[in-house]
């Protein structure tokens, strides 16, 4: 099974050799260079809801530059995650792959890992460029804790790619991209609203309704809060990213198993 997944993964990652992807990585390095001196992400009382949703008091600071890098990575994830499977279906490439003794779930996992690796590479290239640029510009090296904090942001990529692939299993490439973006915006809005509602008195009848809707959408705000690395919060964050990824991929696998590929 692992060999087959790896073969699909290799097929997906091979795209990196295309000139468009080479340009993408150059852009990643440039982004890293330009955002290297953006400073820490800070929120004041004037930022209202965000101030309540993202707490930045504990642990190593989150750098604004890395938030920008993550946003760029998520754009790449939306493009590649939402288009990969529909393109294979349109070009009948999928029939060629599935004609071999490869299960649909293996195909999906291989694709997923491939897209995740491309996104992680983009994130790391931009991140390394930012660290090096910071070193060149200031002569200072970021502490280990700060570096780890920025790398934890990459956890967002896993459920995010799974989510875009889940949507792409249902729709064509352009529609999947649009729906993925709308879904993310909707998730952010509902997550913010659900946390905000939690701060309101319990007797307010909307609380349970909002919670039920919020459980259907990922809350990306959790990845931006600062915390100590050890302890239940860190474990929960990893578990959260992992469980969301599995849920999204399961839905995608269910759809692929029942979909007519012709």
């Amino acid at each position: 099974m692992m060999v087959k997944i790896f073969a699909i993964f290799e097929l997906t990652v091979k795209k990196v050799k295309e000139p468009a992807f080479s340009i993408l990585f150059v852009i990643a390095a440039l982004v890293g260079y330009f955002v290297s001196e953006m400073g820490e992400l800070t929120l004041g009382k004037n930022d209202d809801v965000l101030f309540g949703l993202i707490s930045l008091e504990q642990g190593a600071p989150l750098l604004m530059g890395f938030v920008v890098i993550l946003l760029m990575t998520l754009i790449v994830a939306t493009f590649s995650g939402a288009t990969d499977i529909p393109k294979d279906i349109d070009s009948r490439m999928i029939m060629l792959v599935l004609g071999k003794p490869v299960k649909r779930i293996e195909y999906l996992l291989g694709k997923y890992l491939g897209v995740v690796s491309i996104c992680l590479t983009f994130f790391l290239v931009a991140g390394i460029a930012a660290f090096v640029a910071h070193l060149i510009k200031t002569g200072e090296v970021f502490s280990f804790a700060v570096v780890i904090r920025q790398l934890i942001l990459a956890l967002v990529i896993f459920p995010f790619v799974a989510m875009t692939m889940m949507i792409s299993a249902y729709l064509s490439d352009i529609s999947a991209m649009i729906v993925a973006i709308v879904y993310v915006i909707f998730s952010v809005a509902i997550s913010a609203f659900s946390i905000f509602v939690d701060m309101l008195p319990k007797s307010l009848e909307i609380v349970s309704v909002v919670h039920t809707i919020a459980y259907l959408l990922p809350n990306y705000f959790y990845f931006f809060s600062s915390f100590n690395y050890s302890g239940i919060v860190m474990i929960s964050l990893i578990l959260y990213a992992f469980s969301m990824t599995v849920i999204f991929l399961s839905i995608a696998a269910f759809r692929l198993n029942h979909r007519d590929m012709l």
Partner: protein, 268 residues
Amino acid sequence: MDRQKQNTKVILLIGIAVIFCYFFSEAVLRQFVLYRAGSQSINLSSILGKLPPGLRDEVTRRITIAELKDDLKAAKTTGEKIRISINLAMTISPEELQKRYAEIIDEYPKQPESQPAYTNFLMAPKTALKSISVERYQGFMKILNKEQKFWAWSSGLYKLKTLKISNKEQMEFLLPLLNIKPQGREYQQIYMELSELAFEEKNQDVELKAKKLSDICEKIPYFDEVLEKRAKAIAIAKARKLAKAKKLAAAKAAKLAKEKNKSTKRDK
């Protein structure tokens, strides 16, 4: 077939585990964010301030209602329950308030906190849910303390004025005050009202008595001043007690030190 069944079982177990992980981690992260948000004291009013005025008022009202409901659930004493339930009904609607006042009179007739309900139905018309006679109102006032009593008198008089009750009846309502020794300067206003009512009703005896009592009121302090003095006296007494305890402790320590010195000298 057995293998397929086993696979389904494994998938089901994994699914349950994943869903459990999702809900567990979400709950932990949510609590973490809420705990931190609480420590940062997110400013709800500033968020509400950004809503359009009509919507803001409605949301604020709903939040207030929900907060009062929570407070009502947490209330421990009967007095607290009555006070919060009145505030809650007041926030919901004027009709709800009338209904609640009537319930309070039935449920808690001898509770000092029921005073607003009694005042509300004082000499109320027949169309109201209840009507409290002047005699019953005055009887209820017996259970109130002096500050509450003053408030009951003044709000009762105000209620009669809004109902446009005749001067004679207003005067009769206040008559028991002539037999009470005034306990705060606040009563001066009520006595002056009584003397004016008596003047209009040409009842010289009552007018003179009310004026006399009004003059007495001028010489006594306000309730607030009395409370302030009482608080100060308590604070002074506490400070004295503390100083005494410290002195005693110091004396004890000195005595112990002396005894220790003596015993060490003896040992030498």
